[in-house]
Subunit: 414 residues, 4 copies
């Protein structure tokens, strides 16, 4: 048996020469077009009266940056296919994503935001011409946004057998009933469609009882109950919505790939999606370490700079060590996807997903501690970073499930 | 030298017989008068239009519960003096505070909320008759609330030498200039006065350069810049306010105890205040463990209840072990304050403060992980508990400073 | 249901007035009679030629200290019964045991060494007059030593169902076959008898299939295969022996209490035995912290004393905090045994056993790190302490089993 | 400034094509020539009467394996220079060293044991023709062994200023006085020479006060006081010796490179030496994980295999994750040495050294815990592995010093 941990093909972690100009262009775009608008974008947001719409001027700022990116060819490069995007390898994308993770707006300006990236990838690979025309084209153009409705409130969603939202065929229509929550972005006025995971059968193999269906968000019966909070924040206007499906009817042809193929589609999106999250998380860890060093070097207590007091310098060292370890792991997982394909690289993906959000939370937490109260205030991005990354420890499969995948694989090696 | 770790006088950790009826009455009050209104109180709050006032009905609910507590004699018992309160020992209060920590409203219904408790205690001990008449009486009656303005944004406030807000005498008035932040409760419409830590001299011993001054919140020049966030939440309407003092003038007699005695007053309040926080934190850890067990027992994945999967049961055990260890430590620190006085018990207080918020954060975090996304939603109190307790790791002296106190004391033992 | 964590009867952790003179006498005995001979005792041992006997002079030193202890009435006080010992409560014994743990010889000079204490306690409670005469009397007199043969090499001994050594009745004799290992003290030339756990039946309730039988160590068929190492050390001449029972025949009346009552006897000894270990472990943690502070204060690097570099002072603080927490937990577990009895206090015992060796290992390990290479040399007791306490993490039930007991109990509370 | 963490030149971690046949040959050699003799070698050792010599047959076994390696060209390949060895890059050597770390004898059979490798490297680079003839040639031939005398018992040796052993010129001779300890291998009857770090001046820059001198071990005045223990073991017959230098006289020309250049030489050896240790440590971590999985899969308790109980499977996953992270870090540090040179790669070396022994200790410790008492016995290599790796946490600079290097470098980046 080939051992995925000793394959020589996975040891070259270099960015391709072809990707380097893109990598440099993205960094330049962030520095020149995104960083300068970030503060104003959020300040505008604070002043709005209707929390569930954007403030005047916000989308204009964003759209201007999007236009610049598009004009520079920095657009949709997440798609690993030559015809619809720039066909980056996962490895090349990893380097870029780590940069994107450092900025709260960069991804969107490049049309590379979750969950749109995953949704576009799925549509690109399995969509019918009609589905592509109606949904993929405006998504690729950055004109609309989308959501992915998977998680349900009443069950341990790490075990897929538990999906309870049901769709049954009634003539030419799927009739959907059930409840989903933490549907990120579904509050955004630009969000037009949800890819929805449903149960379409109780029989046959467990992995063939689910399907994925396109549901326009304005379909009658789609009830947005309200926003779920993330540690007290609702992230309006995009939100993480709690949604009920009350006899929601969509045409039969809105199903993706076919009945009973919901899991198959999940496999398609989850590997890259999880790795994208991890890649961006490395960037967030870098931001936290950077803030920690800056703050610690500029403040004094007891006659020394904070960073030289007690264990602080060792924490800086440990953070740097962990960041370099995480970076190498995520690069290698990306390389594994490139070389082995999503299925065979599955254990490498779980390995990265189980490692990176947990360690990054610790680094951000230490940066917070060094800042004192300012560390949890709106004056630094640390609290927001913490919430993002803490959330990731149970999104897309909790740490525990990924450890189970890695552990079981290890038993199989012996 | 007597060793504070081997004094036999500190080994009896029993609640006094005299306090037991009060302890039982408080538990009954929470169950009968507080628990039933809690959900409605917060639901009312969600619906309000002006975030910086209470919603109609909220204060009425609270006042009714306060009236019941007052009628039952459950009022102001935090004051360790017979004439103005029930004269509880710190040890007896510890048992009660752990119960209070389990409820977000209980403390206030008993007039036992921070920072009012500390402010009342200070006024009771060092206030002039006039100061007591004007501020202590309505505080003891639960008619007004108060704030404590100590932390400053621009300095490492764990080193007291750094206080920069200044007061200078101009005739019969103190003129105050400076900036404070995270002034909890200063947004509450009922908050009428702030005890404000200021620098009144640059000469003499460092510990005699500060003073504490009573500043009515409506004094001209008190500029409430806005709320500081705690992990994205502003906790309106009470808030944690950012305040500027622009030539704020108050009468000379508003000083507490006398010029240069600011630290002396701090010593008075900080020991008990820190222990009160720790006591309540034990209650919060109990809530988290309770939720963890309940959730873990009621959900299934992979054919077993969640609590029996992987490391979960061991986490429950470790949480219980830590809770019992924390409880004993806080009881012993309280006993030390009773037997040795605040000054001599200082190391015991630091020991508890360095231990309890850190470990409790871990327990709450594990409870969150077991809940999945629900754990960070508004559907459980876990996110709010986490923020409270995480905040405590740098409030009233960061963990690191308390470890320094304990460590230096240990060196002194050898 | 009564909650063992909130019983007021367990909150008074004071040593009894009656025990204090004994406590002080033991401390004096260690200082005056044990400390002065310790170095010589071990130096003599190093020079011996036959590793499996004592060096000339070693036992004489020990016997002289034993004689002093006996003359001073400091003898057999572990026995919780008035007629044969001093009837100490577990709580009182806890205070003394923490002192014993600081010295490698103190326990033996007081006839309080494991496993003799447990063996004597069992014989005292369930032995026949004949068994008492033959074995208990010389043990109580400190004339012989004994072993406890429970652990087996081929099975996970934390699950008692796994015991494979068998005894079958053949006329008036038990015939024993099987294999035991890590039988501590069985190499000691003074060791005369082993209490041996055997399987006597495969039927009936699992907890009634085992028995305990007295086996004189010189019985034909008892084959001492050799010493088991503990991290490379064989601890000659006492040793941790690997023993085979090859058709070992002992009289029928050598059974303790009766056939099928092996577990019942285990319950008797394991609670106190585990707590005794934990008590002594607190003393070892104190020794490690003491050495850490002494070394760190007397060495310099980079212009500061070691203890003031980096995280060292915080480690000292954390060690002190953990030691105080462990001390309180073990005192409370001892109190629980006194008040509730062994069976009801079982969860408290597991709680202490799961907590204390693990945390103490960390403290000793940190003390080692601060000493550099000297920390693992024969020039400090740290390496030996580490091995002792590390061993304890799987002796008498591994941490994991004790966490399971605490965790399951917690589920039962809800 | 170039950032050592983002240099594209360091991202290709592939073994060179040229090295792969060597890598495969080494694995084959270990499997065919070393593994089969390992058990017998140690069994022979146990039976010897003089602990400070080898048992009859031991060296013969070893020499036969060495002869096979030599014949196969697997000899001295650690030397990064074409004329005297096979000129492996550090990266290529890293892959091989991880294999060597899995076997206690493999390194020696390939003439790749510490400290001989470092000593040969130093002699090869800075030795005079005469020094090379007398010492390097027999070392390269595997005919003699050597020691490196640096660490001193009375000072914190992580700060080089503290070296106290002195050498003064007296005519044509260096006269050396002082004390060294933990001089590994100096008890080996084959050890003929020590490279000795001494202070030759108290003036001038601190980094030019030391020198390194070749001292034949049979020089009059070299007093081997005795073996230092490593957690109770003396590792006879090689030992870790405590040595006094009493007016030891060696010819003036025994100095290496020149007076005051001791640190310069240290820089030469320490980088690769530390990385070699880390590389081998990865192999040890693999052994521990392998044993953990095998044991856990073959034992049962409570009706399940051990590995499926509680947190065990997650520990397996975490060990695998850490091993892969460590492997990538050590490969990248090796690559950095190849690309940047020892001096510029210094931070990468410290980063690996601070990370790998600490994490590996945890993995071995967990493997021990799963084995129960067998885990610390002579029946598995775990106890020995633990001691080796634990020792490494303060050998060649304690973790704390390496964290200081990484931390200070990080401050410099900002």
């Amino acid at each position: 048996m080939s051992n995925i941990f000793t394959l020589p093909e996975l040891d070259d972690l270099r960015m391709s020469e072809a990707a380097r100009p893109l990598f440099e262009a993205v960094k330049r775009h962030i520095a020149e077009n995104v960083a300068p608008i970030t503060e104003e974008y959020f300040r505008l947001g604070e002043g709005r009266t209707d929390r569930w719409s954007f403030a005047p001027g916000q989308l204009e700022l964003l759209d201007a940056a999007k236009a610049k990116a598009k004009a520079a060819g920095l657009w949709n490069f997440f798609l690993p296919d030559d015809e619809t995007g720039q066909g980056l390898s996962n490895l090349d994308y990893a380097y870029i994503a780590a940069e994107l993770g450092k900025s709260p707006l960069a991804s969107e300006t490049l049309n590379c935001s979750a969950p749109d990236t995953g949704n576009m990838e799925v549509l690109e690979r399995v969509g019918t011409p009609e589905q592509k025309h109606r949904w993929l084209e405006p998504l690729l153009a950055g004109e609309i946004r989308s959501a992915y409705a998977m998680t349900e409130p009443d069950v341990a969603s790490s075990d897929a057998k538990n999906i309870r939202t049901r769709a049954r065929l009634d003539g030419d229509q799927w009739v959907i009933n059930g409840e989903k929550y933490y549907i990120s972005g579904a509050g955004d006025p630009r969000c037009k469609v949800m890819i929805t995971m449903v149960r379409t059968s109780d029989e046959g193999p467990v992995s063939q009882q689910q399907s994925q269906i396109l549901v326009p968000i304005d379909t009658p019966g789609v009830e947005i109950v309200g926003p779920m909070h993330v540690f007290g924040e609702d992230h309006a206007p995009r939100g993480h919505m709690h949604i009920r499906f009350n006899d929601v009817r969509v045409p039969r042809e809105n199903i993706l790939l076919g009945e009973g193929r919901g899991f198959e589609i999940s496999q398609l999106r989850l590997g890259p999606g999880r790795i994208h999250h991890c890649m961006r998380t490395i960037g967030k860890a870098e931001v936290a370490l950077d803030l920690m060093v800056k703050r610690g070097s500029s403040r004094e207590a007891f006659g020394r700079s904070l960073i030289m007091l007690g264990k602080n310098l060792e924490l800086v060292s440990r953070a740097r060590i962990e960041i370099e370890a995480m970076r190498l792991i995520v690069l290698k997982a990306a390389k594994a996807m490139d070389v082995l394909g999503n299925r065979e690289a599955r254990v490498w993906v779980s390995l990265a997903k189980a490692m990176i959000p947990e360690k990054t939370c610790q680094i951000i937490d230490q940066a917070i501690q060094l800042h004192g109260a300012t560390g949890i205030s709106q004056w630094t991005p640390l609290a927001e970073l913490y919430h993002d990354v803490r959330h990731l420890r149970f999104a897309d499969g909790p740490d525990e499930v990924h450890h189970m995948v890695v552990g079981r694989h290890e038993l199989g090696l012996h």
